[in-house]
Protein backbone atom coordinates (compact mmCIF):
# COMPACT_ATOMS: atom_id res chain seq x y z
CA UNK A 1 0.00 0.00 0.00
CA UNK A 2 1.35 3.41 -0.97
CA UNK A 3 1.53 6.09 1.66
CA UNK A 4 -1.03 8.35 0.01
CA UNK A 5 -3.50 5.43 -0.27
CA UNK A 6 -3.24 5.00 3.47
CA UNK A 7 -4.48 8.54 4.02
CA UNK A 8 -7.85 7.75 2.38
CA UNK A 9 -10.83 8.76 4.50
CA UNK A 10 -14.22 7.20 3.89
CA UNK A 11 -16.89 9.72 2.89
CA UNK A 12 -19.48 7.10 1.92
CA UNK A 13 -19.54 3.50 0.74
CA UNK A 14 -18.78 4.80 -2.76
CA UNK A 15 -16.51 7.76 -2.16
CA UNK A 16 -13.19 8.14 -0.36
CA UNK A 17 -11.20 11.30 0.18
CA UNK A 18 -7.52 12.18 0.36
CA UNK A 19 -7.41 15.16 2.72
CA UNK A 20 -5.33 18.18 1.68
CA UNK A 21 -3.10 17.66 4.69
CA UNK A 22 -1.80 14.44 3.10
CA UNK A 23 0.57 16.14 0.72
CA UNK A 24 2.23 19.55 0.76
CA UNK A 25 0.79 21.77 -1.95
CA UNK A 26 -2.71 20.27 -2.13
CA UNK A 27 -5.21 23.11 -2.43
CA UNK A 28 -8.30 20.89 -2.12
CA UNK A 29 -9.18 17.35 -1.11
CA UNK A 30 -9.06 14.61 -3.74
CA UNK A 31 -12.12 12.37 -3.96
CA UNK A 32 -11.95 8.89 -5.45
CA UNK A 33 -15.27 7.28 -6.38
CA UNK A 34 -15.92 3.55 -6.25
CA UNK A 35 -16.55 0.83 -3.69
CA UNK A 36 -13.86 -1.05 -1.80
CA UNK A 37 -13.25 -3.63 -4.54
CA UNK A 38 -12.78 -1.03 -7.27
CA UNK A 39 -10.50 1.07 -5.08
CA UNK A 40 -8.42 -1.99 -4.33
CA UNK A 41 -8.06 -2.64 -8.07
CA UNK A 42 -6.72 0.87 -8.70
CA UNK A 43 -2.95 1.20 -8.90
CA UNK A 44 -1.22 3.39 -6.30
CA UNK A 45 -0.38 5.99 -8.94
CA UNK A 46 -4.10 6.84 -9.19
CA UNK A 47 -4.03 8.22 -5.66
CA UNK A 48 -0.69 10.00 -6.17
CA UNK A 49 -1.95 11.60 -9.36
CA UNK A 50 -5.30 12.62 -7.85
CA UNK A 51 -3.40 14.33 -5.01
CA UNK A 52 -1.19 16.12 -7.55
CA UNK A 53 -4.26 17.34 -9.46
CA UNK A 54 -5.47 18.91 -6.20
CA UNK A 55 -2.43 21.22 -6.45
CA UNK A 56 -3.63 22.95 -9.64
CA UNK A 57 -4.09 26.68 -9.01
CA UNK A 58 -7.73 27.74 -9.09
CA UNK A 59 -9.10 24.26 -8.37
CA UNK A 60 -12.63 24.27 -6.97
CA UNK A 61 -14.03 21.87 -4.36
CA UNK A 62 -12.16 18.62 -5.12
CA UNK A 63 -9.84 16.86 -7.48
CA UNK A 64 -11.89 13.87 -8.59
CA UNK A 65 -11.39 10.37 -9.94
CA UNK A 66 -14.26 8.33 -11.34
CA UNK A 67 -14.85 4.64 -10.49
CA UNK A 68 -13.16 3.47 -13.71
CA UNK A 69 -9.97 5.31 -12.79
CA UNK A 70 -6.51 4.00 -13.52
CA UNK A 71 -3.13 5.68 -13.67
CA UNK A 72 -2.47 8.09 -16.49
CA UNK A 73 -0.06 10.97 -17.06
CA UNK A 74 -0.50 14.06 -14.90
CA UNK A 75 -4.17 13.34 -14.26
CA UNK A 76 -5.31 9.76 -13.67
CA UNK A 77 -7.59 8.35 -16.36
CA UNK A 78 -11.02 9.09 -14.92
CA UNK A 79 -9.73 12.38 -13.54
CA UNK A 80 -11.90 15.49 -13.29
CA UNK A 81 -10.91 18.95 -12.07
CA UNK A 82 -12.76 22.25 -12.31
CA UNK A 83 -10.74 25.45 -12.03
CA UNK A 84 -11.96 29.02 -11.90
CA UNK A 85 -10.23 31.05 -14.62
CA UNK A 86 -11.07 34.24 -12.69
CA UNK A 87 -9.34 32.87 -9.61
CA UNK A 88 -5.94 32.16 -11.22
CA UNK A 89 -7.21 28.89 -12.68
CA UNK A 90 -4.90 27.05 -15.05
CA UNK A 91 -5.40 24.85 -18.06
CA UNK A 92 -3.32 21.69 -18.34
CA UNK A 93 -2.96 19.41 -21.40
CA UNK A 94 -2.34 16.61 -18.87
CA UNK A 95 -5.94 17.06 -17.72
CA UNK A 96 -7.25 16.34 -21.19
CA UNK A 97 -4.89 13.74 -22.62
CA UNK A 98 -3.11 13.20 -25.92
CA UNK A 99 -6.25 11.95 -27.69
CA UNK A 100 -8.28 15.14 -27.36
CA UNK A 101 -12.03 14.43 -27.54
CA UNK A 102 -11.61 10.73 -27.73
CA UNK A 103 -15.26 9.84 -27.42
CA UNK A 104 -18.12 7.51 -28.25
CA UNK A 105 -21.25 7.77 -30.31
CA UNK A 106 -24.14 5.37 -30.30
CA UNK A 107 -26.57 4.83 -33.16
CA UNK A 108 -29.93 3.10 -33.06
CA UNK A 109 -31.32 1.05 -35.92
CA UNK A 110 -34.81 -0.28 -36.53
CA UNK A 111 -33.34 -3.75 -37.11
CA UNK A 112 -33.56 -6.62 -34.66
CA UNK A 113 -31.14 -9.44 -34.00
CA UNK A 114 -33.47 -12.12 -35.35
CA UNK A 115 -33.79 -10.19 -38.63
CA UNK A 116 -30.06 -9.87 -39.29
CA UNK A 117 -28.27 -12.45 -37.14
CA UNK A 118 -27.04 -14.41 -40.16
CA UNK A 119 -25.88 -11.21 -41.84
CA UNK A 120 -23.63 -10.05 -39.02
CA UNK A 121 -20.37 -11.73 -40.13
CA UNK A 122 -20.78 -10.29 -43.64
CA UNK A 123 -21.74 -6.92 -42.22
CA UNK A 124 -18.63 -6.87 -40.00
CA UNK A 125 -16.51 -7.76 -43.04
CA UNK A 126 -18.00 -4.90 -45.01
CA UNK A 127 -17.55 -2.43 -42.17
CA UNK A 128 -13.94 -3.57 -41.76
CA UNK A 129 -13.35 -3.03 -45.46
CA UNK A 130 -15.05 0.36 -45.53
CA UNK A 131 -13.94 2.08 -42.32
CA UNK A 132 -10.15 2.54 -42.34
CA UNK A 133 -8.55 1.16 -39.18
CA UNK A 134 -5.09 0.39 -37.86
CA UNK A 135 -1.77 2.16 -38.38
CA UNK A 136 -1.18 3.83 -41.75
CA UNK A 137 -4.86 3.78 -42.76
CA UNK A 138 -6.00 6.91 -44.55
CA UNK A 139 -9.46 8.44 -44.73
CA UNK A 140 -11.52 9.31 -47.78
CA UNK A 141 -11.47 13.03 -46.99
CA UNK A 142 -8.00 14.61 -47.01
CA UNK A 143 -8.18 18.12 -45.59
CA UNK A 144 -5.63 20.87 -45.84
CA UNK A 145 -5.40 24.64 -46.10
CA UNK A 146 -8.60 26.61 -45.74
CA UNK A 147 -10.78 23.46 -45.89
CA UNK A 148 -8.96 22.06 -42.87
CA UNK A 149 -9.33 25.37 -41.03
CA UNK A 150 -13.04 25.39 -41.80
CA UNK A 151 -13.33 21.81 -40.52
CA UNK A 152 -11.42 22.71 -37.35
CA UNK A 153 -13.95 25.41 -36.55
CA UNK A 154 -17.10 23.60 -37.69
CA UNK A 155 -16.56 20.00 -36.53
CA UNK A 156 -19.47 17.71 -37.37
CA UNK A 157 -21.27 20.64 -39.01
CA UNK A 158 -18.59 20.60 -41.72
CA UNK A 159 -19.43 16.96 -42.41
CA UNK A 160 -23.16 17.61 -42.64
CA UNK A 161 -22.64 20.64 -44.90
CA UNK A 162 -20.52 18.49 -47.20
CA UNK A 163 -22.96 15.61 -47.49
CA UNK A 164 -21.73 13.33 -44.71
CA UNK A 165 -24.79 13.19 -42.50
CA UNK A 166 -28.11 14.78 -41.67
CA UNK A 167 -28.71 18.13 -39.93
CA UNK A 168 -30.55 16.21 -37.19
CA UNK A 169 -27.28 14.43 -36.28
CA UNK A 170 -25.86 17.64 -34.87
CA UNK A 171 -28.60 17.97 -32.26
CA UNK A 172 -27.55 14.64 -30.78
CA UNK A 173 -23.88 15.47 -30.22
CA UNK A 174 -22.40 17.03 -27.10
CA UNK A 175 -21.96 20.74 -27.98
CA UNK A 176 -23.97 19.99 -31.15
CA UNK A 177 -20.78 18.54 -32.62
CA UNK A 178 -19.17 21.97 -32.87
CA UNK A 179 -17.09 23.47 -30.06
CA UNK A 180 -17.01 27.25 -29.94
CA UNK A 181 -13.67 28.98 -29.44
CA UNK A 182 -11.63 26.98 -31.94
CA UNK A 183 -8.61 28.93 -33.19
CA UNK A 184 -6.85 27.34 -36.20
CA UNK A 185 -4.06 29.93 -35.94
CA UNK A 186 -3.02 28.21 -32.70
CA UNK A 187 -2.57 24.85 -34.46
CA UNK A 188 0.97 24.15 -35.71
CA UNK A 189 1.75 23.15 -39.26
CA UNK A 190 3.14 19.93 -37.80
CA UNK A 191 -0.25 19.08 -36.24
CA UNK A 192 -2.06 19.89 -39.48
CA UNK A 193 0.29 17.70 -41.50
CA UNK A 194 0.21 14.78 -39.07
CA UNK A 195 -3.54 14.45 -39.14
CA UNK A 196 -4.38 15.48 -42.68
CA UNK A 197 -4.89 11.92 -43.96
CA UNK A 198 -6.49 10.43 -40.86
CA UNK A 199 -9.89 12.10 -40.76
CA UNK A 200 -12.57 9.42 -40.98
CA UNK A 201 -10.30 6.66 -39.64
CA UNK A 202 -10.86 4.57 -36.53
CA UNK A 203 -7.28 4.38 -35.21
CA UNK A 204 -5.97 1.51 -33.10
CA UNK A 205 -5.61 0.47 -29.45
CA UNK A 206 -8.95 0.61 -27.67
CA UNK A 207 -10.79 2.27 -30.56
CA UNK A 208 -13.56 0.21 -32.10
CA UNK A 209 -16.69 0.06 -34.20
CA UNK A 210 -19.20 -2.37 -32.77
CA UNK A 211 -22.57 -3.86 -33.67
CA UNK A 212 -24.53 -4.44 -30.49
CA UNK A 213 -27.90 -5.71 -29.42
CA UNK A 214 -30.12 -4.20 -26.75
CA UNK A 215 -31.66 -7.38 -25.37
CA UNK A 216 -34.88 -7.03 -23.44
CA UNK A 217 -33.12 -8.63 -20.44
CA UNK A 218 -30.54 -5.82 -20.62
CA UNK A 219 -33.05 -2.98 -20.37
CA UNK A 220 -32.71 -1.49 -16.91
CA UNK A 221 -34.74 1.70 -17.24
CA UNK A 222 -37.43 1.10 -19.87
CA UNK A 223 -38.77 4.64 -19.78
CA UNK A 224 -35.41 6.25 -20.50
CA UNK A 225 -34.42 3.51 -22.95
CA UNK A 226 -37.55 4.24 -24.97
CA UNK A 227 -36.92 7.98 -24.84
CA UNK A 228 -33.37 7.49 -26.12
CA UNK A 229 -34.56 5.33 -29.03
CA UNK A 230 -34.51 1.74 -27.83
CA UNK A 231 -38.06 0.82 -28.75
CA UNK A 232 -38.09 -2.85 -29.79
CA UNK A 233 -36.88 -6.20 -28.51
CA UNK A 234 -33.33 -7.21 -29.36
CA UNK A 235 -32.74 -3.97 -31.23
CA UNK A 236 -29.49 -3.61 -33.17
CA UNK A 237 -27.26 -0.65 -32.20
CA UNK A 238 -23.91 0.58 -33.53
CA UNK A 239 -21.22 2.12 -31.31
CA UNK A 240 -18.19 4.10 -32.56
CA UNK A 241 -15.18 4.85 -30.33
CA UNK A 242 -12.50 7.13 -31.80
CA UNK A 243 -10.89 10.54 -31.32
CA UNK A 244 -9.06 13.43 -32.95
CA UNK A 245 -6.37 11.21 -34.48
CA UNK A 246 -2.87 12.61 -35.02
CA UNK A 247 -4.01 16.24 -35.20
CA UNK A 248 -5.06 16.05 -31.56
CA UNK A 249 -2.02 14.01 -30.54
CA UNK A 250 0.34 16.64 -31.97
CA UNK A 251 -1.58 19.59 -30.50
CA UNK A 252 -1.25 17.98 -27.06
CA UNK A 253 2.47 17.34 -27.61
CA UNK A 254 3.15 20.86 -28.91
CA UNK A 255 1.49 22.53 -25.93
CA UNK A 256 2.95 20.17 -23.35
CA UNK A 257 6.38 21.31 -24.57
CA UNK A 258 5.36 24.96 -24.62
CA UNK A 259 3.85 24.83 -21.12
CA UNK A 260 6.93 23.08 -19.72
CA UNK A 261 9.10 25.95 -20.86
CA UNK A 262 6.61 28.70 -20.02
CA UNK A 263 5.10 27.65 -16.68
CA UNK A 264 7.99 28.92 -14.56
CA UNK A 265 7.24 32.45 -15.72
CA UNK A 266 3.89 32.10 -14.02
CA UNK A 267 5.37 30.74 -10.82
CA UNK A 268 3.91 27.28 -11.46
CA UNK A 269 5.90 24.41 -10.06
CA UNK A 270 3.73 21.31 -10.16
CA UNK A 271 5.12 17.94 -9.04
CA UNK A 272 4.64 16.12 -12.36
CA UNK A 273 5.81 17.37 -15.77
CA UNK A 274 2.65 15.95 -17.31
CA UNK A 275 0.73 18.49 -15.22
CA UNK A 276 2.49 21.36 -17.01
CA UNK A 277 0.03 24.23 -16.99
CA UNK A 278 -0.52 27.85 -17.90
CA UNK A 279 -3.03 30.31 -16.51
CA UNK A 280 -6.21 30.15 -18.57
CA UNK A 281 -5.91 33.91 -19.01
CA UNK A 282 -2.42 33.90 -20.48
CA UNK A 283 -1.18 33.92 -24.07
CA UNK A 284 -0.18 30.26 -23.78
CA UNK A 285 -3.40 29.22 -22.02
CA UNK A 286 -5.61 30.96 -24.57
CA UNK A 287 -3.64 29.49 -27.47
CA UNK A 288 -3.91 25.95 -26.12
CA UNK A 289 -7.64 26.37 -25.44
CA UNK A 290 -8.15 27.52 -29.06
CA UNK A 291 -6.05 24.68 -30.47
CA UNK A 292 -7.66 22.07 -28.20
CA UNK A 293 -11.11 23.21 -29.39
CA UNK A 294 -9.93 22.64 -32.98
CA UNK A 295 -8.98 19.07 -32.01
CA UNK A 296 -12.36 18.60 -30.29
CA UNK A 297 -14.01 19.57 -33.58
CA UNK A 298 -11.77 17.27 -35.62
CA UNK A 299 -12.85 14.38 -33.37
CA UNK A 300 -16.54 15.24 -33.80
CA UNK A 301 -15.93 15.35 -37.55
CA UNK A 302 -14.04 12.04 -37.46
CA UNK A 303 -16.86 10.19 -35.69
CA UNK A 304 -19.43 11.80 -38.00
CA UNK A 305 -17.56 10.58 -41.10
CA UNK A 306 -17.25 7.07 -39.65
CA UNK A 307 -20.99 7.08 -38.88
CA UNK A 308 -21.70 8.16 -42.44
CA UNK A 309 -19.68 5.19 -43.72
CA UNK A 310 -21.63 2.88 -41.39
CA UNK A 311 -24.89 4.20 -42.80
CA UNK A 312 -23.68 3.61 -46.36
CA UNK A 313 -22.57 0.05 -45.57
CA UNK A 314 -25.89 -0.82 -43.92
CA UNK A 315 -27.88 0.83 -46.75
CA UNK A 316 -25.95 -1.03 -49.41
CA UNK A 317 -26.09 -4.34 -47.58
CA UNK A 318 -29.82 -4.27 -46.83
CA UNK A 319 -30.80 -2.34 -50.00
CA UNK A 320 -32.72 0.20 -47.96
CA UNK A 321 -32.07 3.84 -47.16
CA UNK A 322 -30.50 4.81 -43.81
CA UNK A 323 -33.83 6.40 -42.88
CA UNK A 324 -35.72 3.19 -43.68
CA UNK A 325 -33.22 1.30 -41.52
CA UNK A 326 -33.76 3.77 -38.67
CA UNK A 327 -30.04 4.61 -38.51
CA UNK A 328 -30.38 7.45 -36.03
CA UNK A 329 -27.74 8.95 -33.77
CA UNK A 330 -28.70 8.52 -30.11
CA UNK A 331 -25.84 10.64 -28.80
CA UNK A 332 -22.13 11.46 -29.09
CA UNK A 333 -20.12 12.03 -25.89
CA UNK A 334 -16.61 13.37 -25.33
CA UNK A 335 -14.15 11.75 -22.93
CA UNK A 336 -11.06 14.00 -23.07
CA UNK A 337 -11.83 17.70 -22.93
CA UNK A 338 -11.66 20.92 -20.94
CA UNK A 339 -14.80 22.99 -21.27
CA UNK A 340 -16.13 26.22 -19.84
CA UNK A 341 -19.32 25.37 -17.97
CA UNK A 342 -21.46 27.03 -15.34
CA UNK A 343 -21.59 25.29 -11.98
CA UNK A 344 -22.76 26.29 -8.53
CA UNK A 345 -20.04 26.75 -5.94
CA UNK A 346 -21.15 27.61 -2.41
CA UNK A 347 -24.50 28.90 -3.62
CA UNK A 348 -23.11 31.03 -6.44
CA UNK A 349 -23.08 30.16 -10.14
CA UNK A 350 -19.58 30.48 -11.57
CA UNK A 351 -18.01 29.85 -14.95
CA UNK A 352 -15.46 27.07 -14.50
CA UNK A 353 -13.06 25.26 -16.79
CA UNK A 354 -13.87 21.59 -16.26
CA UNK A 355 -11.07 19.19 -17.23
CA UNK A 356 -12.31 15.67 -17.92
CA UNK A 357 -9.75 13.03 -18.83
CA UNK A 358 -11.30 9.64 -19.42
CA UNK A 359 -14.53 10.90 -17.90
CA UNK A 360 -17.93 11.75 -19.37
CA UNK A 361 -20.03 14.86 -18.91
CA UNK A 362 -23.33 13.68 -17.43
CA UNK A 363 -25.81 16.54 -17.26
CA UNK A 364 -28.92 15.77 -15.26
CA UNK A 365 -32.57 16.21 -16.29
CA UNK A 366 -33.57 19.74 -17.16
CA UNK A 367 -30.03 21.06 -17.57
CA UNK A 368 -29.13 23.23 -20.55
CA UNK A 369 -27.17 21.50 -23.29
CA UNK A 370 -29.30 18.35 -23.55
CA UNK A 371 -31.35 17.64 -26.72
CA UNK A 372 -34.96 18.68 -26.27
CA UNK A 373 -36.43 15.19 -26.49
CA UNK A 374 -34.10 13.99 -23.71
CA UNK A 375 -34.53 16.96 -21.35
CA UNK A 376 -36.63 15.21 -18.74
CA UNK A 377 -34.46 12.07 -18.81
CA UNK A 378 -30.94 13.52 -18.49
CA UNK A 379 -28.07 13.43 -20.93
CA UNK A 380 -27.32 10.05 -22.50
CA UNK A 381 -23.99 8.73 -21.22
CA UNK A 382 -22.31 6.02 -23.29
CA UNK A 383 -19.92 3.76 -21.40
CA UNK A 384 -17.76 1.65 -23.67
CA UNK A 385 -16.73 -1.77 -22.45
CA UNK A 386 -14.60 -4.47 -23.96
CA UNK A 387 -15.69 -6.49 -27.00
CA UNK A 388 -16.44 -9.40 -24.63
CA UNK A 389 -18.17 -7.78 -21.71
CA UNK A 390 -20.42 -5.32 -23.51
CA UNK A 391 -21.19 -1.65 -22.99
CA UNK A 392 -23.81 0.51 -21.31
CA UNK A 393 -26.13 3.32 -22.18
CA UNK A 394 -26.63 5.40 -19.03
CA UNK A 395 -28.08 8.81 -18.20
CA UNK A 396 -27.02 11.85 -16.22
CA UNK A 397 -28.69 12.56 -12.89
CA UNK A 398 -29.45 15.57 -10.75
CA UNK A 399 -27.32 14.15 -7.95
CA UNK A 400 -23.94 14.49 -9.73
CA UNK A 401 -23.26 18.13 -8.84
CA UNK A 402 -20.37 16.97 -6.62
CA UNK A 403 -18.46 15.75 -9.67
CA UNK A 404 -19.43 18.76 -11.82
CA UNK A 405 -21.84 16.37 -13.52
CA UNK A 406 -19.18 13.87 -14.57
CA UNK A 407 -19.20 10.10 -14.57
CA UNK A 408 -17.37 7.03 -15.87
CA UNK A 409 -16.32 6.55 -19.50
CA UNK A 410 -15.38 2.87 -19.79
CA UNK A 411 -14.44 -0.15 -17.79
CA UNK A 412 -10.81 0.83 -17.21
CA UNK A 413 -7.82 -1.45 -17.70
CA UNK A 414 -7.00 -4.08 -15.09
CA UNK A 415 -4.00 -5.58 -16.94
CA UNK A 416 -1.05 -3.99 -18.73
CA UNK A 417 -0.76 -4.55 -22.45
CA UNK A 418 2.16 -6.92 -21.97
CA UNK A 419 0.26 -8.93 -19.35
CA UNK A 420 -2.72 -9.17 -21.68
CA UNK A 421 -0.61 -10.40 -24.58
CA UNK A 422 0.87 -13.09 -22.33
CA UNK A 423 -2.56 -14.11 -21.07
CA UNK A 424 -4.47 -14.10 -24.36
CA UNK A 425 -3.85 -15.17 -27.94
CA UNK A 426 -5.49 -12.92 -30.52
CA UNK A 427 -6.41 -15.63 -33.05
CA UNK A 428 -7.78 -17.95 -30.36
CA UNK A 429 -9.70 -15.05 -28.87
CA UNK A 430 -11.25 -14.24 -32.24
CA UNK A 431 -12.36 -17.89 -32.61
CA UNK A 432 -13.66 -18.05 -29.06
CA UNK A 433 -15.63 -14.85 -29.50
CA UNK A 434 -17.00 -16.13 -32.81
CA UNK A 435 -18.27 -19.27 -31.13
CA UNK A 436 -20.08 -17.05 -28.64
CA UNK A 437 -21.75 -15.02 -31.40
CA UNK A 438 -19.33 -12.07 -31.38
CA UNK A 439 -17.79 -11.69 -34.83
CA UNK A 440 -14.52 -9.73 -34.78
CA UNK A 441 -12.34 -8.33 -37.53
CA UNK A 442 -9.07 -6.71 -36.58
CA UNK A 443 -6.10 -4.97 -38.11
CA UNK A 444 -3.85 -6.74 -35.56
CA UNK A 445 -4.26 -10.02 -33.65
CA UNK A 446 -1.71 -8.95 -31.04
CA UNK A 447 -3.63 -5.72 -30.66
CA UNK A 448 -6.80 -7.80 -30.28
CA UNK A 449 -5.23 -9.80 -27.44
CA UNK A 450 -4.35 -6.56 -25.66
CA UNK A 451 -8.02 -5.56 -25.75
CA UNK A 452 -9.40 -8.88 -24.44
CA UNK A 453 -12.25 -8.59 -21.99
CA UNK A 454 -10.12 -10.10 -19.25
CA UNK A 455 -7.70 -7.16 -19.51
CA UNK A 456 -10.42 -4.81 -18.31
CA UNK A 457 -12.26 -4.27 -15.05
CA UNK A 458 -15.77 -5.60 -14.61
CA UNK A 459 -17.95 -3.04 -16.41
CA UNK A 460 -21.02 -4.05 -14.37
CA UNK A 461 -19.13 -3.11 -11.21
CA UNK A 462 -17.95 0.20 -12.69
CA UNK A 463 -21.42 1.24 -13.92
CA UNK A 464 -22.94 -0.01 -10.65
CA UNK A 465 -20.50 2.07 -8.62
CA UNK A 466 -21.27 5.17 -10.67
CA UNK A 467 -24.96 4.56 -10.06
CA UNK A 468 -24.53 3.90 -6.35
CA UNK A 469 -22.55 7.13 -6.02
CA UNK A 470 -25.30 9.05 -7.85
CA UNK A 471 -23.09 10.02 -10.81
CA UNK A 472 -25.24 8.41 -13.53
CA UNK A 473 -27.96 5.79 -13.85
CA UNK A 474 -27.81 2.72 -16.09
CA UNK A 475 -30.43 2.57 -18.84
CA UNK A 476 -29.50 -0.45 -20.95
CA UNK A 477 -26.76 -2.99 -21.23
CA UNK A 478 -25.59 -3.48 -24.81
CA UNK A 479 -24.27 -6.86 -25.89
CA UNK A 480 -21.65 -7.01 -28.66
CA UNK A 481 -22.37 -9.19 -31.69
CA UNK A 482 -19.87 -7.78 -34.14
CA UNK A 483 -16.70 -5.75 -33.69
CA UNK A 484 -14.18 -3.98 -35.90
CA UNK A 485 -11.02 -3.45 -33.86
CA UNK A 486 -8.52 -0.84 -34.86
Amino acid sequence: MGKIRESLRKISDHCHEIPPSSRKGMLAPARIYGGDALLKSMDDAVFEQAANVAMLPGIQKYALCMPDGHSGYGFPIGGVAAVDPEDGGVISPGGIGFDINCGIRLMATSLTLSEIEKEIPALVDRLFARVPSGVGATGEVALKGSRLEEAMTKGALWAVQNGYGEPEDLEYCEENGRMEGADPDAVSQRARERGKNQIGTLGSGNHFLEIQVAESSGIIDANRAHAFGIDREDQIMVMIHSGSRATGHQIATDYLRLFLSAQHRYGLNLPDRELASAPFHSDEGRAYFGAMNCAINIAFLNRQLIMHSVREVFADHFKKSPRELGLRLIYDVCHNTAKLEHHEIDGKTRRLLVHRKGATRAFGPGMKGIPGRYTQHGQPVIVGGSMESGSYLCAGTASAAGTFYSTVHGSGRAMSRTQARKAFNGRELQQSLGSRGIHVRTASFSGLAEEAGGAYKDIDAVVGAASAAGLSVPVARLKPVGNVKG
Binding site: D99, G134, R190, N197, Q198, E274, S444
Partner: protein, 143 residues
Protein backbone atom coordinates in the same frame (compact mmCIF):
# COMPACT_ATOMS: atom_id res chain seq x y z
CA UNK B 1 23.12 -1.83 -26.24
CA UNK B 2 19.46 -2.66 -25.65
CA UNK B 3 15.94 -1.71 -24.74
CA UNK B 4 13.49 -3.55 -22.54
CA UNK B 5 9.81 -3.14 -21.78
CA UNK B 6 8.90 -2.02 -18.27
CA UNK B 7 5.54 -3.33 -17.21
CA UNK B 8 4.95 -1.59 -13.89
CA UNK B 9 4.85 2.03 -15.11
CA UNK B 10 1.67 1.98 -17.17
CA UNK B 11 -1.34 -0.25 -17.71
CA UNK B 12 -2.76 1.32 -20.81
CA UNK B 13 0.43 2.22 -22.64
CA UNK B 14 3.97 1.00 -23.32
CA UNK B 15 7.15 1.89 -21.39
CA UNK B 16 10.81 1.15 -22.14
CA UNK B 17 14.16 1.40 -20.46
CA UNK B 18 16.84 2.01 -23.07
CA UNK B 19 20.60 1.86 -22.59
CA UNK B 20 23.62 2.46 -24.80
CA UNK B 21 27.28 3.33 -24.68
CA UNK B 22 26.92 6.76 -26.29
CA UNK B 23 24.20 9.40 -26.72
CA UNK B 24 24.05 8.67 -30.45
CA UNK B 25 23.60 4.95 -29.88
CA UNK B 26 20.94 5.75 -27.24
CA UNK B 27 18.94 7.70 -29.82
CA UNK B 28 19.19 4.83 -32.33
CA UNK B 29 18.02 2.34 -29.68
CA UNK B 30 15.17 4.65 -28.63
CA UNK B 31 14.03 4.73 -32.25
CA UNK B 32 14.15 0.95 -32.36
CA UNK B 33 12.10 0.79 -29.12
CA UNK B 34 9.46 3.08 -30.64
CA UNK B 35 9.01 0.74 -33.61
CA UNK B 36 9.10 -2.32 -31.34
CA UNK B 37 6.16 -0.81 -29.43
CA UNK B 38 4.16 -0.57 -32.64
CA UNK B 39 5.31 -3.40 -34.89
CA UNK B 40 5.43 -7.10 -34.20
CA UNK B 41 6.96 -7.74 -37.60
CA UNK B 42 8.86 -5.22 -39.69
CA UNK B 43 8.47 -7.53 -42.66
CA UNK B 44 11.15 -8.04 -45.27
CA UNK B 45 13.23 -4.97 -46.06
CA UNK B 46 12.23 -3.51 -49.39
CA UNK B 47 15.47 -1.58 -49.88
CA UNK B 48 14.23 1.48 -48.03
CA UNK B 49 15.83 4.71 -49.20
CA UNK B 50 18.16 6.47 -46.76
CA UNK B 51 17.32 9.83 -45.22
CA UNK B 52 19.18 12.24 -42.98
CA UNK B 53 17.80 14.79 -40.55
CA UNK B 54 19.11 17.15 -37.91
CA UNK B 55 17.33 18.44 -34.81
CA UNK B 56 18.25 20.87 -32.05
CA UNK B 57 16.86 21.36 -28.54
CA UNK B 58 17.83 22.98 -25.25
CA UNK B 59 18.91 19.75 -23.52
CA UNK B 60 19.53 16.10 -24.33
CA UNK B 61 16.18 15.15 -22.73
CA UNK B 62 14.29 17.68 -24.84
CA UNK B 63 16.24 16.50 -27.87
CA UNK B 64 15.32 12.83 -27.39
CA UNK B 65 11.67 13.82 -26.97
CA UNK B 66 11.80 15.87 -30.17
CA UNK B 67 13.67 13.07 -31.97
CA UNK B 68 11.01 10.46 -31.19
CA UNK B 69 8.25 12.93 -32.02
CA UNK B 70 9.94 13.45 -35.40
CA UNK B 71 9.64 9.71 -36.13
CA UNK B 72 5.91 9.87 -35.28
CA UNK B 73 5.54 12.87 -37.56
CA UNK B 74 6.98 10.99 -40.54
CA UNK B 75 4.75 7.99 -39.76
CA UNK B 76 1.53 10.01 -39.77
CA UNK B 77 2.24 12.85 -42.19
CA UNK B 78 4.14 10.85 -44.80
CA UNK B 79 3.28 7.22 -44.09
CA UNK B 80 6.92 6.37 -43.48
CA UNK B 81 8.61 4.01 -41.06
CA UNK B 82 11.80 5.95 -40.36
CA UNK B 83 14.30 3.63 -38.66
CA UNK B 84 17.43 5.40 -37.35
CA UNK B 85 20.61 3.55 -38.31
CA UNK B 86 23.23 5.93 -36.91
CA UNK B 87 23.12 9.13 -34.90
CA UNK B 88 25.62 11.64 -33.73
CA UNK B 89 24.72 13.79 -30.73
CA UNK B 90 26.56 17.00 -29.99
CA UNK B 91 26.11 18.29 -26.45
CA UNK B 92 26.75 22.02 -26.04
CA UNK B 93 26.58 24.26 -23.00
CA UNK B 94 23.08 25.50 -23.80
CA UNK B 95 21.80 23.11 -26.41
CA UNK B 96 22.05 19.67 -27.97
CA UNK B 97 22.03 18.65 -31.62
CA UNK B 98 21.40 15.26 -33.23
CA UNK B 99 22.34 14.36 -36.80
CA UNK B 100 20.65 11.11 -37.74
CA UNK B 101 20.97 8.71 -40.66
CA UNK B 102 17.91 6.55 -41.14
CA UNK B 103 16.11 4.27 -43.55
CA UNK B 104 12.65 5.42 -44.53
CA UNK B 105 10.28 2.66 -45.62
CA UNK B 106 6.72 3.33 -46.78
CA UNK B 107 4.07 1.72 -44.56
CA UNK B 108 2.50 -1.26 -46.30
CA UNK B 109 -0.18 -3.08 -44.26
CA UNK B 110 0.52 -6.20 -46.33
CA UNK B 111 4.12 -6.23 -45.14
CA UNK B 112 4.25 -4.43 -41.79
CA UNK B 113 2.34 -6.09 -38.97
CA UNK B 114 1.35 -3.37 -36.53
CA UNK B 115 0.12 -4.12 -33.00
CA UNK B 116 -0.82 -0.60 -31.90
CA UNK B 117 -0.23 2.97 -32.92
CA UNK B 118 1.88 5.26 -30.75
CA UNK B 119 0.06 8.56 -30.41
CA UNK B 120 2.66 10.49 -28.48
CA UNK B 121 5.85 10.43 -26.46
CA UNK B 122 4.82 11.29 -22.92
CA UNK B 123 6.83 13.19 -20.32
CA UNK B 124 5.77 10.65 -17.72
CA UNK B 125 8.99 9.50 -16.01
CA UNK B 126 10.81 10.61 -19.14
CA UNK B 127 14.53 10.78 -18.42
CA UNK B 128 17.97 10.60 -19.99
CA UNK B 129 20.89 9.86 -17.66
CA UNK B 130 24.54 8.94 -17.80
CA UNK B 131 25.57 6.45 -15.13
CA UNK B 132 29.03 4.87 -15.05
CA UNK B 133 29.66 5.52 -18.70
CA UNK B 134 26.31 4.08 -19.79
CA UNK B 135 23.55 6.28 -21.16
CA UNK B 136 20.05 5.27 -20.14
CA UNK B 137 16.61 6.60 -20.97
CA UNK B 138 13.12 5.86 -19.68
CA UNK B 139 10.35 6.50 -22.19
CA UNK B 140 6.59 5.94 -22.00
CA UNK B 141 4.65 5.93 -25.25
CA UNK B 142 0.93 6.78 -25.27
CA UNK B 143 -0.94 4.23 -27.43
Amino acid sequence: MAFERIDDITRADVAFKISAGSPGALFVEAGAALWAAMLEDMGPSSGAPPMRFELQAESIEALLHLFLDELLYHKDAEGLIVVPSAAEVELGAADAIVRCDALAERIDPAVHRFVVDVKAVTMHRFSVRREGGIWTATVVFDV
